[in-house]
Symmetry: D3
Subunit: 264 residues, 6 copies
Amino acid sequence: MRPNCLKEMCQRQEAAVNGWLGIPSSYAAEVMGYQGFDAVTVDMQHGMIGFDQAIAMLQALSATPALPLARVSCNHPALVMQLLDAGAYGIICPMISSALEAEFFVSACRYPPQGTRSFGPARGMLYGGPDYFQGANQAILTLAMIETRAGLDALDAILAVEGLDGIFIGPNDLALALGKAPSSEPDDEEVRQAIAHICERTRASGKIPGIFCSSGEAAAQRMAEGFLLVTPGHDVGMLSQAARHAVQAARSQSASRQGSGVGY
Amino acid sequence: MRPNCLKEMCQRQEAAVNGWLGIPSSYAAEVMGYQGFDAVTVDMQHGMIGFDQAIAMLQALSATPALPLARVSCNHPALVMQLLDAGAYGIICPMISSALEAEFFVSACRYPPQGTRSFGPARGMLYGGPDYFQGANQAILTLAMIETRAGLDALDAILAVEGLDGIFIGPNDLALALGKAPSSEPDDEEVRQAIAHICERTRASGKIPGIFCSSGEAAAQRMAEGFLLVTPGHDVGMLSQAARHAVQAARSQSASRQGSGVGY
Amino acid sequence: MRPNCLKEMCQRQEAAVNGWLGIPSSYAAEVMGYQGFDAVTVDMQHGMIGFDQAIAMLQALSATPALPLARVSCNHPALVMQLLDAGAYGIICPMISSALEAEFFVSACRYPPQGTRSFGPARGMLYGGPDYFQGANQAILTLAMIETRAGLDALDAILAVEGLDGIFIGPNDLALALGKAPSSEPDDEEVRQAIAHICERTRASGKIPGIFCSSGEAAAQRMAEGFLLVTPGHDVGMLSQAARHAVQAARSQSASRQGSGVGY
Amino acid sequence: MRPNCLKEMCQRQEAAVNGWLGIPSSYAAEVMGYQGFDAVTVDMQHGMIGFDQAIAMLQALSATPALPLARVSCNHPALVMQLLDAGAYGIICPMISSALEAEFFVSACRYPPQGTRSFGPARGMLYGGPDYFQGANQAILTLAMIETRAGLDALDAILAVEGLDGIFIGPNDLALALGKAPSSEPDDEEVRQAIAHICERTRASGKIPGIFCSSGEAAAQRMAEGFLLVTPGHDVGMLSQAARHAVQAARSQSASRQGSGVGY
Amino acid sequence: MRPNCLKEMCQRQEAAVNGWLGIPSSYAAEVMGYQGFDAVTVDMQHGMIGFDQAIAMLQALSATPALPLARVSCNHPALVMQLLDAGAYGIICPMISSALEAEFFVSACRYPPQGTRSFGPARGMLYGGPDYFQGANQAILTLAMIETRAGLDALDAILAVEGLDGIFIGPNDLALALGKAPSSEPDDEEVRQAIAHICERTRASGKIPGIFCSSGEAAAQRMAEGFLLVTPGHDVGMLSQAARHAVQAARSQSASRQGSGVGY
Amino acid sequence: MRPNCLKEMCQRQEAAVNGWLGIPSSYAAEVMGYQGFDAVTVDMQHGMIGFDQAIAMLQALSATPALPLARVSCNHPALVMQLLDAGAYGIICPMISSALEAEFFVSACRYPPQGTRSFGPARGMLYGGPDYFQGANQAILTLAMIETRAGLDALDAILAVEGLDGIFIGPNDLALALGKAPSSEPDDEEVRQAIAHICERTRASGKIPGIFCSSGEAAAQRMAEGFLLVTPGHDVGMLSQAARHAVQAARSQSASRQGSGVGY
């Protein structure tokens, strides 16, 4: 079976850079897959992406050097199963608040006897190889998001769940959970400490700490703090910022009107 | 009928900034439409976009401040008609090499007696208003691309075609036509002079000179040279450059491996 | 943030007219959005619409004067979240049978601390504006459907749920729940009284009573009865009735064969 | 091979009623196919429909009592071939202005030696049956649109083209061609006479006169005038009129605001 | 209402042959529907199919002699409802492990008072007929998959659930559940006995035993064993095996290189 | 730039095996790409495939060992350009009847100065590499179909066209052109001689003779005859034959009814 290069990188303590897709387009996915990312995540939670589009996006990523991951919209075994069958090599699951929820999530990612995943790895076998069943329980990456106060409180119990490979932090929701304004790069001291705490405990448990960041520069900072999986922004943010910059630069020498970036 | 604000800007000698779409996604189109562009063009020539996708993209643009334009894949009246019926408020037509071709193109954009457009403005009426038929011949923008040597030679005759609103330059193809390597911002003197010549003659004829550029900075330069419609890059280029930059920035403090932007 | 004009109308005690979409087409959605409705609902429960199509439909509605709403297929937070992120300005949730279920539904529509909605308003921000987060908890409309006997029994408790904006009645399911044949305009006395009771209690609580109707005439009658949100039929019914009428009218002067409207 | 019931009806001098599709949705197509039409036409000229959508629409119609037809965007053999391969049982071709153009069109609909259609009837065989090749040249209906002055002048020559089954009139474009305002039901005397003339000459030649109408009532009138194929409006018109009527009826008893049908 | 011919066959103790779809294409579905199957199942569990695609596939099947069925991804009433509304005439539900789960599943397939299905049979009425509501509870086929040890233990209780029409076995998951390697045609004695036991008990209860097989030959064997519903492989397996065979046959006389079937 | 392995094989006089796609599905394309084919062709002529689907299919093929090719619906430069931009590494063009048509086709595949292809290789660069422009004129394979009597007569002149890489025979259309019934494996002596003649002359000119076959066995025979590119059937034929066989095998031991493969 095709090895999970991302898992191997992290096991070597080498930080990996992950792309993020919210645009429902296999072409945008393929473009992203060629830009140097170690992995690219199809976001089924906040991305504008249904399952019919996700399949084509995972296919497109399969032709690129980037490993295909997916974030499910919620902790439901059928959704996890469908994305794994479609060839995702790792799942990010939002809103994990207890060890039980983490076990439930991991179980959906593993064939019996380790878990309860149903057999039928349609695209998984095309991408992973004919021995997919034999290798999948080992190869598939499982990342739980800690973004509630309960999840924070249960961190060590969650990290103790066998088969869970790491934690992924969504700073916006974590800040909200702590009663603060949402922020991709929180200034708030309590949120900062929570993030640092998750990173430290996750590393201490031998697992992968990951986080969503708002830029490459912020991602570099997170890597310096010890994170092993960083996401330097998402496709929509990158495209809109680049476009707004281009409009403003085009108008910079023109006094006739003001550049005014709108929205998002 | 909804006025063509782009046409009005250019008539006031005010330069307009145009976005460019090659990703077949109505969501990417909508995101682009909110970034401050005066117009956004759905590229049916080199974009990865068929008619089924183009319709949804034109719909998405209709909710944004940007005027929807389209580039057809070739000078064919049925393709022009379909995009106008779908609500495009202007058409960019590639590879116009003679006054006859320009007339043929313009004719496809105009209802009788000025032209030969067939009646049935399905989405056009939703976007333009119930009096679409009365105003369309006046409102729809027609831009011919000069990108062959024959087109260059016939420039003044093309500019004399009634109903043609302007010229749009594709520097890559124009360079190729002159026997040079393709380049978005050509250094070659002959190509530079050809571009300047087209701009000057177009302005002299009271029409709109437009051009594709590789960045906002390059677009500002073209505006300074007298162009009234500039396109500071396309969505795929913006997204891939922004992503590659983010990857490199994320890895900048990491000695463990090299950022290597790939492709496009 | 863009205000919720529908909520404002209802607060002024002004009845609103709502369109209903079951055809999975952004073009049909846009056509409907221009016909004078105050709002139009994308029906993910009984409509033939998956999430990939719903996104384009919400985009198309955004260009029209009608406010985009959605009905979820069931009371699941991930589905509610995805439609809100996609720009719906209100959610209709079927089969609410208790105050707890209503609280669960409302919680999914509200950011912390009022609720549990996860942050990431992709299209929401494009349609609502950059201050979406600040205004969303106030702007998003929440309507619970009462269509079980348990829901009817728990009506006052449901109406007491904070953050719930109103009740929406599906007469067919309500009739079924009361042991009667399904009917859009029930004759049955018990069903009629139940509908009147829901309307009266909902108004008494200062919330919005809404209902699905089978025609504009029936909707007018419901408005006279005190309903503040009426839906005069759905797209499929309107299209099929109009088409059947046209066929019959065409054949009315022809003795050669009988018009025979089929299906639906 | 499945017989062409529409052709047989017309040969019996029995007028047929044809539906018209501009909404790119297989569900809308199927709904229309069940409303009593003898045939339903997928409009690739002014409809918002590309080939990927047209296939699913022709599939959906295949399950209904209505015979699937298609209108091509222009007189191009490749487009005709693709729609026939996709299972259309007849083609309406716009803008036929000479006998040569009519021969070119008919040739694209017929296998050698009668024509030049390329072999490969993918869906055609599923819908038509395994003996599709043997029967197709006889079964496929060919209708040429007369909507230019040249076409009007060449009418008798066009009608003499072997293999052409009939004429279909688009009143809007015909009016435009004669220098009048477009109108689905023209009042102008010259246009009325042209329509009557086409009908009479077509019947005299033993071929099928067809026409687009704005309503069932207008279609009945055309049938009384001798037309054998009438189209009582299109899906978008039917849907928007029905919706606008429903909105107005809903508001009819409400003094608080005015119903205002917008667009199309 | 259109009768459920599959249910009738099985009631006559006549074994039925069922096709299986994992390719998200209405054209592939239609092709399969014409190959002699009594029914064809759209697999939403392990197939690469989301709801938007499933609708078009069910439409395409409606034009063929095969009865349309669907397998849901999990035992969730909203998913069952959507596929029934979309015209599926039977539902296969995976992972039924108790009588309660079977009751929950059956309840989702039946209108009150027998069940809890919500009213709104959009496409169901087109395919089934205007009296769909009256006949649906009788016509819709309900098949529960037994593929866990708990399900095996609860077999008789599950078979006693009123309204459940039969059992469908997935040998791969059943083998996994019993601690064996997944296999479509299990050699393992315990698995074989479990399959035989399920078949025998299901027949004894007067219900339909069904099973997934890896080929037509294996399906014939299952029919000989008493199964009344057999699925001789799926579309992806059939296509890949046929293609691999064709490649190998093409290369069989060529010494220059080896045919090497890859994947799946 | 990624080399064209198919061209290299043929230049080594090694026969290549080509798959053929008519199902509009990126998943079916990917499945086919893993079955051992040297190349796989997306058929835009007789396949049920529009451009929006073709893009995703070419993407899916890019992840497999098979080289992506495409057949255009007709000899039109814009269609050729779009498929090359979308990453096809070779084009099969139907109905080439003269050297001029072959030159026109080849010109559309080559950048200036060798041809007239417009610059903008969107996906081409992702699949081919950043030096796509430099290598494309050399790498892209051009195959002309000879399937008319005129084409047969002009064979040597067509073979003399510089930049044309080979000939591809469609036996069905060739038989039709010679006044015979269409047949994938013609028995007719004149057609057989024409096929042998094309093969012999093409090889003599140092170019690639290719042909469509009805099975792997037939393809092996064609390879023995000297063809260097063989297509052992298409996806729809493979799927329908395999399914029909499975149904018949399942019913072989059952006397209750007859298997009856239908259609295609």
